[in-house]
C-alpha cells in the first residue's frame, strides 16, 4: 500500500519492524511501538500514552515534509 500511495504523493510508513519496512521498499520510515499496538502503549498512563501517540504522528508529519534521497528511518 505504501508503494502504491507513493506513486501519487509522499507517504510515511509507521512500522514496528523497520527491517521489513526497508525490505518492502518504504522510503520514509518512522519506528512504531510494538506489533500489537504500533501507535500506543497499553502499559502507560492515558495522558503519557496520548503524548507518545502525538509525538509519533508529529514525527511522521515532519518526515513527510523532509526531502530525502534514500530510504530514511526518522
Amino acid at each position: 500500500m505504501v508503494k502504491e500511495i507513493e506513486k501519487v504523493m509522499p507517504v510515511v510508513h509507521i512500522a514496528t519492524v523497520v527491517p521489513i519496512s526497508k525490505t518492502v521498499g518504504a522510503n520514509r520510515i518512522v519506528p512504531a511501538v510494538a506489533i500489537p499496538h504500533p501507535l500506543g502503549n497499553p502499559t502507560m498512563q492515558p495522558a503519557e500514552e496520548k503524548y507518545l501517540r502525538r509525538q509519533l504522528v508529529e514525527k511522521a508529519l515532519r518526515a513527510l515534509q523532509t526531502k530525502i534521497d534514500d530510504q530514511t528511518v526518522f
Binding site: 514496528t16 519492524v17 523497520v18 527491517p19 521489513i20 525490505t23 519506528p31 511501538v33 510494538a34 506489533i35 500489537p36
Partner: protein, 430 residues
C-alpha cells in the same frame, strides 16, 4: 545430560473400569480422569472425553493443543516442569517412558481465532500428523468469568495434567525399545569429536503475547533472554505451547516433545558432525527485543564454538524478521545457517513467501504454502464445534458448507506446514 527414552507402543485406546496399560492398550477410567481434571480449576464448566482413532469419520475442532503422555521413571524431575511449586528440577536426564502412538487433544469453544482442525480420515487426514495417533480428546468448557487468557490457561492446564495422568500409567510398564540420547557439558562435548564440525540448533519460539505464547520450565519466553538448553530437555516437556498462532505452523506441545530437528541432529551426532546443543530464543513484538534476542543468540553460538546452525521459525509475518536477523548475524559471525520456515505465498502461490528477506538467507527449507486451499468432506462425528470454520485463520465467510464440508486454507489444519518438518508434506521438482 543423558536420557533414556523407553517407548511403549500403544496399539489401542479404550475406556474401561480401571485405568491401565494392558498388552499395548491404554485403558482409561473416564470418571476417574474427569474427577482429577475437574479439581484443577473451579472455572471448568464441563469436561467430556472422547476417543478418535485413525480412519474414523471424525473431525476435531477447534484444537488448542496436542500432548504426548510421558512419565519420569526412577529419577528426579517432572514431565512439563516448572509450572507448580516443588517441580522446579531440571529435566532431560535419567529415564522417561513414552506412550508412543497416542495423544491428548484439547478442544472446546474457541479461545483465539487461530485454532485448528484435525480430521481423522479423508483428504484432511493427510495434512496433519495427528490423524495417525490414537487420540484422547478432551472437550473443556469454562464459565463466563474467564477472559480469553484465563480460558487458554485453564485448557492448557487440563491438557498437560491429563497427559501426565495418563503417562503415569506407563511408569511400571516394560518398554518395547529404549533409545538413549546424550549431550555432554560444553567442554567435554567439544572434546569428544574434535575433528567434526560443531553444529547447533537455534530454536525460535512464538512469544507474541495475545495468546501466542510458549513456556520454558513454566516461564513465558517473551520475558527471557536467549538461553542454552540441553537437547534432551525438550523430551521431558521443558517447552510447552500456550499458543494460538495459525494452526498449520504452531508447534503443539507434542511437537516440542518430539522436536524433529533435535532427534534428527542426534542421528548423525559423532559421525558427520558434533551436535553441541540448543539455543532457545523468542520472537517478541518490539524491534529492540528482536535485535537484542538475535544478538544474544549469536553471542551464545560463538561462545559455544558453533560452526553451523539450523534455525527454525515458529509462525509467520513479523517473526520472519527475527528469522532473518538470526540468519544475517550468525552468518556475519562466520556461522553457516540453514533456515526452516513455511510460506504464505497466496492461494495461487505467486505472492512473496516471507515478509522479510536477507541476502545471507541462501539455504532455506520450506515446509509448505499455508495459503493452499483444501476441501474437507463432512465427517460423521464432530468433536468440539465446527461453527468456527468461517472465523479461524485460513477460513473465510462461507468456509463451512451446508452439508458439513469445509473449504479452508491449509493454515487451518493443525501441523499442516510445521516449520520443524513434523509432517509428511513434500514437493517434487517438475
Amino acid at each position: 545430560m543423558k536420557l533414556e527414552l523407553g517407548n511403549i507402543h500403544v496399539r489401542d485406546l479404550a475406556f474401561g473400569p480401571v485405568s491401565e496399560v494392558k498388552e499395548n492398550t491404554v485403558v482409561i477410567d473416564q470418571q476417574a480422569l474427569i474427577a482429577h481434571l475437574t479439581e484443577l480449576d473451579h472455572r471448568i464448566r464441563s469436561l467430556e472425553l472422547s476417543i478418535a482413532k485413525p480412519g474414523d469419520s471424525t473431525r476435531i475442532m477447534p484444537v488448542k493443543d496436542v500432548i504426548e503422555p510421558r512419565v519420569k521413571v526412577g529419577c528426579e524431575g517432572d514431565i512439563f516442569p516448572g509450572r507448580h511449586l516443588g517441580e522446579e528440577a531440571m529435566v532431560g536426564e535419567g529415564r522417561t517412558h513414552v506412550l508412543k502412538g497416542m495423544a491428548v487433544v484439547t478442544t472446546g469453544e474457541i479461545v483465539g481465532f487461530q485454532e485448528g482442525i484435525i480430521d481423522m480420515s479423508g483428504p484432511g487426514a493427510d495434512y496433519t500428523p495427528f490423524s495417525s495417533t490414537l487420540n484422547l480428546v478432551i472437550q473443556c468448557e469454562v464459565d463466563d468469568s474467564c477472559n480469553q487468557y484465563d480460558h487458554e490457561g485453564v485448557v492448557r492446564l487440563v491438557g498437560l495434567e491429563a497427559a501426565r495422568w495418563i503417562g503415569r500409567l506407563a511408569e511400571h510398564v516394560e518398554p518395547q525399545e529404549i533409545e538413549t540420547y546424550e549431550t555432554k557439558p560444553l567442554l567435554e562435548q567439544a572434546a569428544q569429536f574434535p575433528h567434526l564440525p560443531k553444529v547447533g540448533y537455534v530454536y525460535m519460539l512464538q512469544s507474541q503475547g495475545l495468546l501466542h505464547d510458549t513456556y520454558y520450565y513454566g516461564v513465558d519466553v517473551k520475558g527471557i533472554l536467549p538461553t542454552l538448553m540441553y537437547p534432551t530437555e525438550v523430551m521431558d516437556g521443558a517447552i510447552i505451547s500456550g499458543n494460538c498462532v495459525s494452526a498449520c505452523d504452531k508447534n503443539t506441545s507434542f511437537v516440542h516433545q518430539n522436536s524433529p530437528v533435535i532427534y534428527d541432529l542426534y542421528r548423525h551426532h559423532g559421525t558427520k558432525y558434533n551436535f553441541m546443543g540448543v539455543i532457545v530464543t523468542n520472537e517478541n513484538v518490539t524491534l529492540k527485543d528482536k535485535e537484542r534476542s538475535s544478538n544474544f543468540t549469536v553471542k551464545l553460538a560463538k561462545q559455544m564454538g558453533w560452526e553451523a546452525a539450523i534455525v527454525s521459525e515458529e509462525g509467520f509475518g513479523n517473526p520472519d524478521a527475527d528469522l532473518m536477523m538470526n540468519c544475517a548475524k550468525l552468518e556475519a559471525a562466520g556461522i553457516k545457517t540453514v533456515l526452516l520456515t513455511d510460506e504464505y505465498a497466496g492461494q495461487n502461490g505467486e505472492s512473496q513467501s516471507l515478509a522479510d528477506s536477507h541476502k545471507s538467507a541462501d539455504a532455506v527449507i520450506t515446509n509448505g504454502n499455508a495459503n493452499q486451499l483444501v476441501t474437507l468432506p463432512a465427517m460423521n462425528t464432530v468433536i468440539g464445534h465446527d461453527r468456527y470454520a468461517d472465523v479461524v485463520a485460513g477460513g473465510f465467510n462461507g468456509s463451512l458448507h451446508e452439508d458439513g464440508s469445509i473449504t479452508v486454507e491449509l493454515q487451518a489444519i493443525i501441523g499442516a506446514t510445521s516449520e520443524l518438518g513434523f509432517h509428511t508434506l513434500t514437493t517434487k521438482a517438475s
